[in-house]
Amino acid sequence: MRIVVLVKQVFDPDAKVRLDAAGSVIEPDDPNAYVLNGYDAHAVEEALRLRESGVDAELAALSVGPPRVQNAVRRAMGMGVEQGVHLLGDVDDPFAVAQAVAAWLREHPCDLVLTGVMSSDRMQGLIGPLTAAALDWPCVTQAAELAIDRESGSAIVQQELEGGLRQEVEVELPAVVTVQSGPHRPRYPSLSNMLRARESELVQVELDTAALPQPHWQTVRIEQPQRTRAGLMLDGSPQRKAERLLSLLRERNVLAEAR
């Protein structure tokens, strides 16, 4: 079978995001300020695990965006995915990205599309379900575990619900499954894979961005979120902060010594 993992390159979630006066995120020029989306790394890990569990699968990683996103594809290849695909174009709107991905998948059929449950920057979680909608495939979100049932040829997905509940679903292939971060920590790229990834040519397709759908919604601005509580920030030396915190906790009458 053929599995395509959709990967996104995102701002390094550990770096500080800068905003301009209009409330837009300032995009850093430094290519090292961008990384493979952590949730997508989990999706790559699940694809590799499926193959290691005995599923005969060819794996590809696909990303949409400007030239720099190739680094995210190569990171996935470093983890063990053999093919890289780059749909080149400055496309941001999820509907447009999903249309572009769906168009490519129609020409290059596959059995299963995996992607992260969301991107760590925009956090919309739309590309997986919208790609499924564009192809009229079923989509299962928030997968904690994944297996292929060889008899029925369908995927068996442990899907996370709320409050510690899970459900096991069986989904006909082809399908899109979005992967939640879970106990399967994404592996580090191996040196030999990274070297191979660096040397291999990615399949590149230039998108006709004018032909893609126009966005149905827009970001007005991005800001610091509102405070929802008093937010008393303790100041002074660490010692002083500790004293203040203990006195505040004593006031709440929850310390063991107070009884």
Binding site: V171, R252, E257
Partner: protein, 323 residues
């Protein structure tokens, strides 16, 4: 044009989820003087729908069909499209859960609608409606505007208050749909992890986040927890995924919801999924060395310090260092 807001009452095995009531608060704010309808889909039981209509005063469309057991996303989508076709909603609202996430983009694609996920606040100024959602791990908030005639959205659990009980029951209107079989079969639902009882019973919950760094440092969190009379140790999703604590101790949307007198977040960044599980705590203390961590925005008291040096200092201060 007056707004018409439809919402799907989310349930698991017939039990209405709290977010369904919270969505109604959001819907009322959104609709202003417009119309609201709730939709109840189930295999064979309409009793919870009647209860919802009595409690909230909201009109409920009820549709019972064996295919709708467990609200499978494809059949649920078809049912919503058919039920709401004549009603012509301007906004369709679902909970931000696995199900909502699966279904809402599909509805949006079908209706050429805007699609806004995990909305936690709305505002309106001079007729300009704004939706607010967390981005960049909750460090920042995005304000979004819809440009489409129909807007679909998912609402963050815990973000809106539950409405007061209504004086008059809403109407219950039975509807029929015809559903094509979907391609996703629910085989079984199970409790992956039952939250430990002491989490709910604790007066003080001390939670370890990714900032604890490694499993060995959990000992420090446990020591801190022992300062309190009736306490329990919990973990963020990241900590439980790492296996540093079992998932039975996970606080957040996919774990336990706690409402202690005091919640002490140690090295927890405060992603919206975590906040959903602890926002109703009486008093929140956050200790984190990253002053930009979103947890500080909902803390009553914040300490910007490295917890590995600060917690021992606290312990010493109480003369507990020989424990």
């Amino acid at each position: 044009m007056s707004r018409r807001v439809a919402l799907l009452i989310e349930h698991i095995a017939g039990e209405i989820r709290p977010v369904s009531y919270e969505m109604l608060t959001c819907a009322r704010q959104l609709a202003a003087d417009g119309e609201i309808v709730s939709v109840w889909l189930h295999a064979d039981d309409e009793t919870p729908a009647q209860h919802f209509a009595e409690q909230t005063g909201c009109e409920v469309f009820v549709c019972l069909d064996p295919a709708l057991v467990d609200l499978p996303s494809e059949e649920t989508g078809q049912a919503l499209i058919q039920l709401l076709d004549a009603w012509q909603p301007t906004h369709i609202m679902l909970a931000h859960t696995a199900r909502g996430w699966e279904l809402v983009p599909r509805l949006a694609a079908r209706l050429s609608a805007a699609c806004l996920t995990n909305v936690h606040r709305i505002s309106e100024e001079q007729g300009a409606l704004r939706f607010y959602r967390a981005v960049h791990g909750g460090r920042l908030e995005e304000q979004v505007q819809s440009n489409a005639p129909v807007t679909t959205l998912t609402i963050a659990p815990g973000a809106f208050a539950r409405p007061d009980a209504a004086d008059n029951a809403g109407k219950v209107v039975r509807k029929k749909v015809s559903l094509a079989p979907g391609r996703i079969q629910v085989r079984r639902q199970m409790r992956a992890h039952q939250a430990d009882n002491d989490l709910a019973a604790a007066e003080v919950v001390v939670t370890a986040g990714r900032g604890v760094g490694k499993a060995e440092n959990l000992a420090l969190i446990e020591k801190l927890s022992r300062l309190f009379a009736k306490s329990a140790v919990a973990g963020s999703r990241a900590v439980c995924d790492e296996g540093w604590l079992p998932h039975t101790r996970q606080v957040g949307q996919t774990g336990a919801t706690v409402r202690p007198k005091v919640y002490v977040a140690c090295g927890v960044s405060g992603a919206s999924q975590h906040i959903a599980g602890m926002r109703e705590s009486d008093f929140v203390v956050a200790i984190n060395r990253d002053e930009n961590a979103p947890i500080f925005r909902l803390a009553d008291v914040g300490v910007v310090e490295d917890l590995h040096t600060f917690i021992p200092l606290l312990l010493r201060e109480l003369g507990e260092e020989n424990e």
